[in-house]
């Protein structure tokens, strides 16, 4: 038996983040409490930046690594790089300590009972939650592995590595802790259930192909005749698991509750990065492994895409909470990405990569702005409280308006170019009816985005309305970067579009 070779150079970005996460756990065990916060933040930042540098250095690599279990190719590197950039910005929002008196957005100890004496003592001592950083690093590592997985087992492990820390992180809000616990529990129960369905599907696909590798499953599509029942059940069940993670209808029910209950920095991180990772994995699974039976899964995704766009856009109209509204908007966006996914070619992959990058940046920025608008009860997320915000703090309201316009797909923002490219890819792929539904859904969606902008700029300020807190310089830089990227990618999308186009080739 010969020893397998591992491509350490190509796997280095993943190993860096995984290693830093393990070191983070050891820091929790050995570093004195007072120094922990600084050490954890610095470690997380260093690891993510080092990993990003390694990803950039690997640009153009096309390697099947780890005996075929992982693929480092264009889409994988593009998504890993984007996830790393978004996580680095998220660290700034996680470590923000100027908004809450005496702490950050997280409960001092997640295990303390809400409203108990223990909690009060911890708050008085200004105890900080530091375990959130290693958890986040594990989640990031899982997200980086997910779109690079070339094997059903690795894909499942990556899914769990990214999901389990997120379930915990959702339950750590400093304010409205019961809501946060509820969000964590709902996300965990539904997420664990969908992971089980995904695993069930993998078992069927393995039963069909006799292999876990995507390339061999792809070959089996032409050689294994008469076992289509196993294959189709497998494809359907695996789709359920992945569609749950991207928040597509009818597996979207968790999204508004979890986005609302989770601490807003976590919501920002989760909304942006999970969607990137899950769509990356979905595109690879459906194009590389199941590409040969696309006529079987395309009708299913057609139906899901239409339902997702319509439900996301229409239900968002009735929302009165800004975080819930953004959650439904993220559902609608998942639908727009699915229209391109149905097309199943290189143009579609490029469009999806570009769309995900622009959507991720705008989402991160929008949720970060939500953390700034506060009243005595913490974040003021009710829409009525945002009335007249544009008169009180035009810069914050203007930035938020920019992100909303990008979500709506107004020209001169990144969202327009993104939407244009996914719809163009869908038309090329023969999914014109989907695009018609998409355009109608965008029109509905534009209405509720513009409604918020009108509310902020043209209504009278609410009595005893919220104030806009002044964050630390890092958060300001993070939000400014997001706004600049949203504007810049709308005006000069060429370079990123070219990069996505070059990156959109899957290695089998």
């Amino acid at each position: 038996m010969t020893a397998p070779t591992l491509e350490y150079a190509e796997l280095a970005p993943l190993i860096t983040v995984f290693g830093a996460a393990v070191i983070g756990v050891l820091i929790e065990a050995f570093v004195p409490r007072r120094a922990r916060h600084t050490v954890q933040v610095v470690l997380a930042l260093l690891a993510l930046v080092a990993s990003l540098v390694q990803v950039i250095a690997l640009a153009g690599t096309e390697v099947v690594a780890a005996v075929g279990a992982v693929v480092i190719d264009g889409p994988a590197l593009f998504l890993q790089g984007t996830i790393l950039v978004l996580s680095i910005i998220s660290i700034a929002f996680f470590a923000e300590r100027k908004l809450e008196a005496g702490g950050d957005a997280f409960a001092p100890a997640a295990s303390s009972l809400p409203g108990s004496d223990e909690e009060r003592v911890l708050v008085r001592e200004r105890r900080l939650q530091t375990e959130i950083y290693p958890l986040m690093l594990f989640a990031v590592a899982g997200m980086m592995l997910f779109p690079a997985a070339n094997d059903l087992l690795i894909m499942f492990i990556a899914l769990e590595v990214l999901s389990l820390p997120l379930y915990l992180m959702c339950g750590m809000a400093r304010r409205r802790r019961l809501l946060s616990h509820e969000a964590a529990l709902k996300y965990f129960l539904l997420g664990a259930f969908s992971s089980a369905v995904f695993l069930f599907g993998s078992a069927f696909v393995y039963g069909f192909a006799g292999s876990l590798r995507f390339s061999e499953i792809s070959t089996a599509l032409t050689t294994e005749i008469g076992k289509e029942g196993l294959l189709l059940s497998g494809v359907g069940l695996m789709a359920v698991g992945l569609l749950f993670k991207v928040g597509a209808v009818p597996f979207h029910a968790w999204t508004p509750d979890v986005y609302q209950g989770a601490p807003t920095p976590v919501t920002a991180f989760m909304a942006a990065c999970t969607k990137l990772a899950a769509f990356g994995a979905m595109v690879r699974l459906f194009y590389v492994a199941f590409g040969g039976v696309r006529s079987d899964w395309q009708p299913m995704l057609w139906a899901v895409a239409i339902a997702t766009m319509v439900v996301g856009a229409v239900v968002a109209l009735t929302q009165t909470d800004i975080k819930r509204m953004l959650a439904y908007s993220s559902i609608a966006h998942a639908g727009f990405v699915l229209t391109a996914l149905v097309a199943a070619d290189q143009t579609a992959t490029a469009a999806i990569l570009f769309y995900l990058a622009t959507y991720g940046i705008a989402t991160l920025g929008a949720f970060a702005v939500v953390t700034l608008v506060r009243d005595s009860g913490g974040e003021a997320t009710h829409l009525s409280k945002w009335a007249g915000l544009g008169k009180r703090s035009p810069i914050v309201a203007g930035t938020f308006a920019l992100f909303l316009l990008a979500f709506a797909g107004i020209p001169m923002t990144s969202g327009f170019v993104g939407k244009l490219s996914v719809f163009a890819a869908a038309i090329d792929g023969g999914a014109t009816p989907l695009v018609i539904v998409g355009v109608l859904a965008s029109a509905v969606a534009a209405f509720f985005y513009v409604r918020v902008i009108v509310l902020m700029f043209f209504s009278a300020p609410a009595e005893e309305g919220p104030t806009v807190a002044v964050p630390s310089v890092w958060t300001t830089v993070g939000i400014s970067l997001g706004a600049a990227a949203t504007l810049l990618l709308g005006l000069v999308p060429g370079p990123l579009l070219d990069l996505a186009q070059q990156a959109a080739v899957f290695v089998r």
């Binding site: 020893a3 756990v25 050891l26 929790e28 065990a29």
Partner: protein, 119 residues
């Protein structure tokens, strides 16, 4: 389409069975309510009352369970390696050492954070 017919058939039968059983049992079943009937079902055990002050319960069992899971995972990987360790060679040995080092990290964490103290 004929490929999907059995699946659709099964879905219809399953739905009919699920909805049917609920409906039939509410219509046909006797309706005699007493204390035992209205109690929550606890696998035949008397349901324990909620502790005073919001439902806290001793956390020791959950820590023991988590420790068990770590050992469990370790054993699951150690057994197959032990059976074939001579054929897996140096690579297998080093991989197993790395694995054991990594899996000791949660133990170290648990020990340092007081998870092993039985107060």
């Amino acid at each position: 389409m004929s490929l999907y017919a059995p699946v659709i058939g099964l879905i219809i039968i399953a739905a009919l069975f699920a909805v049917g059983s609920v409906v039939v049992s509410t219509v046909v079943g006797p309706k005699r309510y007493n204390r035992a009937r209205l109690d929550s079902y606890e696998c035949g055990v008397e349901p324990t009352p909620q502790p005073v002050g919001g439902g806290r319960f001793p956390i020791k069992y959950y820590l023991t369970a988590m420790t068990f899971i770590i050992f469990d995972i370790e054993i699951i990987f150690l057994y197959p390696w032990a059976v074939r360790f001579d054929q897996l060679g140096v690579f297998g040995f080093l991989a197993m050492v790395t694995f054991i080092v990594l899996i000791s990290v949660p133990f170290v964490y648990e020990w340092r954070r007081g998870g092993l103290d039985w107060d």
